[in-house]
Every structure is written in C-alpha cells, then in structure tokens.
Subunit: 450 residues, 2 copies
C-alpha cells in the first residue's frame, strides 16, 4: 500500500493540493481534428487536486484562481505531466513471462504461456503476482488497463483485491476457454458462463473496477462457449468485451478450420453477437476489407500491440489503412505483455512508430500519446473519468522526465518543439522516464519498495 | 579518465587479478558449427587478468592453476562475464542525435544529420562530444567499435585522443563526401584523399587505434572521390574500409541515377576497387542475387543495423537469406546510432530478433551474442585481440546482470537454460543490465561520473 495513500486516509479531509509542471492534455484525436486542436499544453501549467482525488482545476499557472495560489504544492519543473497511461491490452498472468522463445503465436502459447497461466489456480501465488503486476504498471506510469486474467476465479479475485486497495481503475475478466488448451486451463461453456456471472456480481462497479467479458479467442472456445458468451453479452450489454482477432496466419487458418461456416474470422465473433461499441479485439493485423467494414459498422475497436506483433513475427499492423475514411475502425494501443516485450507504454509507442514506418505511413508522437491516454480511455467509455487533465477527471497522472538518462539528457539539448520532445521520449524512454505516477491524486511510484 | 586506470598507471606493475563469475566465450559461429560447439560456458568460471591488461588464463574455476588461486579477486556471482561488445557500425557525431523525426533516410540526413555533423568543425565541441560518446559506449558494455566520424580532421583527432587515453580499441576514419551535402560538410576528392593520408600517418596503429577509410556512401561522393578512395585503398590494403550500401529504395534510385553505367549499387563500389575482405557495408537490405554473389566472392561484409532499419523504415534485413550457402555473405551487427535508436547492444540484438521474426526466419540468442562479440571481431580481423576470453586476448569485458530491473528479476526466476537467459537479456535488457565494463583489465563503467 503506497505510503501517501495511507497518509491521506489517516488525515481524512486533507486540503487541496497543487501540482506545477509543463502540462499536456489531449482534447481530441490529432488524426481527425489536426495536431493544433488536439491538445492543450502549458509551459507553466498547474493542476489542482481535490481531496477526493479528482482534478478540481487545470490550466496555465498564470490563470490559477486566487483561492488556489497558496495551496501546498509539488513542482516538477520542466517535466511533463499528462494523464496516466492506459494499456488497452495485456495479460496479468503473463506479467513476468516476457521473452519466451516461441516460434510464433500458437507455439508460444502451447510451450510457455499455458504452463505459466496454470500457476494462477493457486490463490497465494496469484495474490503475490497481482502485487508485482500492479507495481510494474505503476513503475511505467500506467494507471488503468484492460487486462486478461486466467480461467481461475481466484486469480481475478487476487487482481481486483489488489487494484481495489490501490484505488486503480482496472478492467479485467476471467478468461473463458474450453478447447485446445490443457485441462488445468480449461473451463466449460457452462462453468465459464456461471463463474463470469458470479464475478460480475461480485466485482463490477466495486470501487473503480469494471468487469470485462473475456473469451480468450475463437481457437480456444467451442461453439457452445461462444454461444454462452453471446448470452452473457446480451445480459450485460454495458460491459466491455475483450478477445483476440486476426493476429497470425496459422491462427486464422485454425479458426477457418473450426468454423467452416464462417465468412472469415470476424464473422465468427459476429455470429455470436460479440461485436459492439464496447468490444475490444487485440491485434486485427490481417483483416480483410469486409472485416474492416463490419468492425467499423459495429463500432468495435482493434487494439494495436506492436511489441508483441514484432516479437512473435505476427505481421505489420497498418494504422492509417485500418482507420481509412469510409469504414474507419477505432484503434487502441496495448503492450500485450507477455507476447509484448515491455510493460512500458513508451516502448509500446516506439514500436508502434517502427511498424508505421515499415508499412510506409508513419504516425506522429501526438497520435501516439493520444492513443495511450485519451484515445484508449474513450474506447473504454472511461473518458469522463480518466485520459485527460480536464476538471472532474480523477487525478491519475504520469510525470515524464525527458532527461531521465545521460543519453536522453544529451538528446534533450537538441529538442526544438513539443512534438520533438514527445517523440524522443517515446523512442528513447523506458520506466526511468516515468518520474512519478499518481493514482487518484496520490504519488505511488516513489512509494514503491524499489 | 577512469579512476582505476590511473591507479594502475601509478602503481606500475600491479599483481595479476582474478575475476570469478559465470563466464561465456564464443569459439565459432553457432550457425556454422552448431550451438553446442560454438561456445564455452562455465557456471563457476574464472578469468586471470595480467597486469598488461591481457587475459592470462580463463576456464572453469575448479581448473584454476594453483599459482592463481590466491590472487586478489573480484567476484560477480551469478552474473555473466563475456567479451565486451563490438559495435560494427555507428556514427560518433550522431551519438546524441537519436530519435530525429525524419521521414526516411535521405530526408533524415538532410533535415537533421547534416546540421548536427557541422558542429564537429569545432575542436572544443568535438572533444566534449568524444568523451560523452565513449562514456555511452562504456555504459552499454561496448569496448570496441567501427565508427564514422565527420569530414573534419579535428573531430577524428578528438575521438582518437579520447579513445587513446582510455586504452580503447577503436576503428574510425574521417568521412569523405564531396557532393549532395552542405558546404560545411563537404571536402573534395583531393582534400578527402590528402587529409585521410595525413590521419592514417598520424593515428593508425597508435595504441589500439586503427584508421578506417571512410567514404560516406555513393550518394555523397563524386566519381573523382570514389576514384581517389580506390587509390587510398590500394595504397593501404590492410586498412578497413567502411561505407553504406542498399539501405533504402530512394537511395538506391539516387545511386542508379548518379552512376548510370553501373550494374547496380554494389557495382559502383566494385568499380573503384572498394570490395575486399576488410570492407564493411552498412545495411545491405535490398541486395540482388548478383550483388550478394559478388559480395561473397570478394569476402566483403554487410553490417546489419536493425534499430536503424526499423526506425527509418528502411526495410527488413534477411539474415539467413544473406548468408545462404553457395554465396554466403559475412554479417556483422551495429547500432547505427543516430539512425539507430539505442546505443545498447542488447537493444540492437532485440531488434535483430524482431526483424528475423518478421521475415519468418529467426535467429537464436547464441547467433546474436556471437555476432556482437567474436563475430564482429573476426570480420574486423581483430579476433586475435578481442571478441573472446581466450588467453592472450585483451581483457575487454562486459558483466551482464540478468536481474538488473525488477521485471527482469521476475523473468529470471523462469529461466531454464543458458539460451533462455541470454534471450531474456537481449529482449528485455538495456544499459542497466551492464553491471560493469572492463577495458584492458580495468573496470571503467563503475568509474563513470554518472
């Protein structure tokens, strides 16, 4: 439990708190409204944090209302404060299972992932893992995420208990999988449905937690399980649903083989009513025009996971192609740890840039940081709570240090614009560039044991 | 100047020194002799360093000769000691110019690189830069490199003076370029030749320094300059020659346009006699079968620079294709900073793996660490001096810590083989995983100011 959170609890109604720094807050998608209109930036910015952990005021320090001028304050000088990062796709039980030498997705799942995930049947193991997982998010400035758990209810209990204690806005769900997986990692159409219902009743809406309906992917779910998932989704239409889609050629072939009646991979999920505005499909690298059009029509999102796609050789995601006018598909961004190679959102954005360069249509640093903050928050329908510095939002923040390492400091001396500075941060930065992480107004990174 | 180097100088003939750790030393190319026969590894290894900075003995600690058993020693426990990394391609004057937002190679050169490199006309600036550049190499466990300088003799003087003082085995040369570059960054066929001759006389063979003949690339050299370069090469057949080749489509088109008589890009260099066993061509991504066959015949090397190729979207290098039997081309590996995004050799190897996955023919961690140590050393004809722990080699070493960060420590708990451990190091590691760097038997990383 972070030191400062304890302090806040024991002092009860503490006074308002002022944070000064260079502040950056996105307003809208730079790819739609243009860079200039997409963000608000203040060289001398100020954020007033209320004692309930929300942002009471933010803007340029010169405009700070008189009543806030003498508040106790923390100054971050030339560091940049923005909304905390949101990771829209990763796997809690794979938090440490990075860099497994799998040939490709299916090989990697069978040889490493399904072994590691079976450990989460043990509640004690899962509790320890949850603490380490959330520590690692905090270390990287990630204040919210949409995460897979395992099939074990105890694993999700462990994750949610720990996140609740920390006051984090986490979205996760028990994974459902009833075929093509080891016994120790399989539920059934019936138990998957029932346990999900129980966990929804137990956790959804507790603190800042949300439950996500979580079928792993079409390869590991029977028709019966996907049917039951469709029922769950109809019974809980407001819940986020997360799964995987079109990551790898062999996976696509396996799905075509299991669902011979389907038009394509997307059609399998569609058939069971799983496409919606709150549905998240990780990867979506190899989608056909028909699939993209259908995803667009349904308002579903794909989550681009570049370090994972690169590490597993899954393919090169086409950002601008995927959002093409006429049938734009919404795009989020995620680390996909442990297929992804780094929890760091900065490392994720670096590889997103690399992928965009390799397909010949590069993204900007504004695109990238928008995706990782307001973009992901909007897709998750959480932008009323997180993703920007607008008053009323919860003060989940990341403090970025463009001079975190000797070579970054050297590079910083050449910076000539906000874009340049953000770009250097995402290309060169890692967890060291996260000087502090705030959750609900409390600094939590500096309070970590190490 | 590192503290310990001073100490050694003042004490004169210090005693032998013992280093204990897990030790790894490559013997041959794992892609040729097979993994098992490619390296020597000792769980409890020992290295005896002579007072002249050379390795007097190395092997398993149980075999340590009696006369070495009571030497003063440094123990690194479970950390891995291997030969220091060799970076076979990077640019000294771009050491801090990482993460410049260029669209592609030629745009990046004109908008950023050629501006930064002009600063190196100033000797004072170059001296400061040289110290910072070499500090950054040391921080990343890089003990030798093959580096471009700028056209300015004072810049190379600065680099070599600093490297000489540190006792480093550096290979570099004044860049020659006489067209398609700003005035402040252009020499002529005549001055390029003459200044190179003067610098060869002044520096080649001084301490551990070597001069490399360095025409930037065919885009920025006239026929007259390439002709003069051929003369230089004939007059100094033992020198390494370094340049760039087949990095980017627009570059290839520009070369075809400038040299309409050429069969292809490689043929331009060939025409002027620049292909040889000591010739290094950075990139070589898009080489035709004819070019690969000709490179193979000449014994020339390409240097794979994956973080740069990824960052600039230059294309995906095909490692196994390039070394195909029948016409195998030798391959080295380099960071290519500042087109590369990280001085870290581990980061370079990570992206080399990513590229190999994206082209569907993955390299192993043994391939990768071989390339960065003995592989590069052999290509540079320096393997009698560096690249392994064999007795007689200079004790240029890197000490790697597989548990350098909290998440690496978590991952380490899953490691089940040497390959797995090396693989996690290259996928997850950065400068923090370099616990110490030795140059000629002296620990130099811990002696850095920061």
């Amino acid at each position: 439990m972070p030191h400062c959170a304890i302090a806040a609890q024991t002092t009860g109604h503490a006074a308002l708190h002022l944070i000064t720094a260079r502040t950056l807050s996105f307003i809208d998608d730079p790819g739609i409204v243009g860079e200039e209109r997409s963000y608000e930036f203040h060289e001398k910015g100020a954020i007033v944090v209320d004692d309930d952990g929300s942002i009471a005021w933010s803007g340029s320090a010169v405009d700070l209302p008189a009543e806030h001028r003498d508040l106790p304050s923390t100054g971050y000088g030339d560091k940049i404060v923005m909304a905390g990062f949101v990771d829209a796709h990763l796997h809690f039980p794979q938090y440490r299972m990075i860099a497994a030498f799998g040939k490709d997705l299916l090989d990697w799942l069978n040889r490493y992932t399904f072994i590691e995930e079976q450990r989460y049947a043990d509640a004690g193991f899962a509790r320890q893992a949850a603490a380490k997982f959330l520590d690692e998010l905090v270390r990287n400035g990630i204040t919210s995420c949409l995460a897979f758990s395992t099939i074990h209810p105890v694993a999700l209990d462990a994750l949610f208990e720990e996140a609740l204690q920390r006051g984090m806005a986490l979205v996760s769900g028990k994974t459902m999988m009833d075929c093509n997986a080891p016994k120790g990692l399989s539920d059934t159409a019936e138990t998957g449905y029932r346990e999900s219902k129980e966990l929804i009743a137990k956790w959804h809406g507790v603190g800042r937690l949300q439950y996500a309906i979580t079928p792993r992917f079409a390869v590991t779910s029977s028709e019966a399980q996907l049917e039951a998932t469709g029922v769950l989704k109809r019974e809980h239409p407001d819940l986020i649903l997360q799964t995987h889609l079109s990551e790898n050629d062999a996976e696509i072939a396996a799905v075509a083989n299991s669902f011979p009646w389907s038009k394509d991979y997307t059609d399998v999920y569609d058939h069971y009513g799983l496409l919606s505005e709150k549905a998240f499909f990780a990867h979506g690298i190899h989608l056909s025009e028909r699939e993209l059009a259908r995803m667009s029509e349904a308002g579903a999102s794909v989550v681009h996971c570049p370090t994972s796609n690169n590490f597993l050789g899954s393919g090169l995601f086409r950002y601008h192609h995927t959002r093409e006018a006429g049938r734009p598909v919404s795009i989020g961004v995620g680390s996909d740890v442990g297929g992804g190679t780094n929890h760091s959102t900065l490392a994720t954005l670096r590889d997103a840039y690399v992928v965009s360069q390799l397909v010949g249509s590069r993204i900007t640093a504004f695109d990238a940081f928008y995706l990782a903050t307001l973009g992901n928050s909007r897709l998750m329908h959480l932008d009323h709570e997180i993703g920007s510095l607008a008053p009323g939002r919860t003060a989940d923040l990341v403090v970025l240090d463009p001079e975190a390492t000797p070579i970054m400091a050297e590079r910083h001396a050449l910076s000539n614009s906000l874009h340049d500075e953000l770009f250097a941060l995402m290309i060169m930065g890692d967890d060291r560039a996260v000087a502090e992480t705030y959750i609900a107004g409390k600094p939590v990174k500096s309070a970590l044991a190490r």
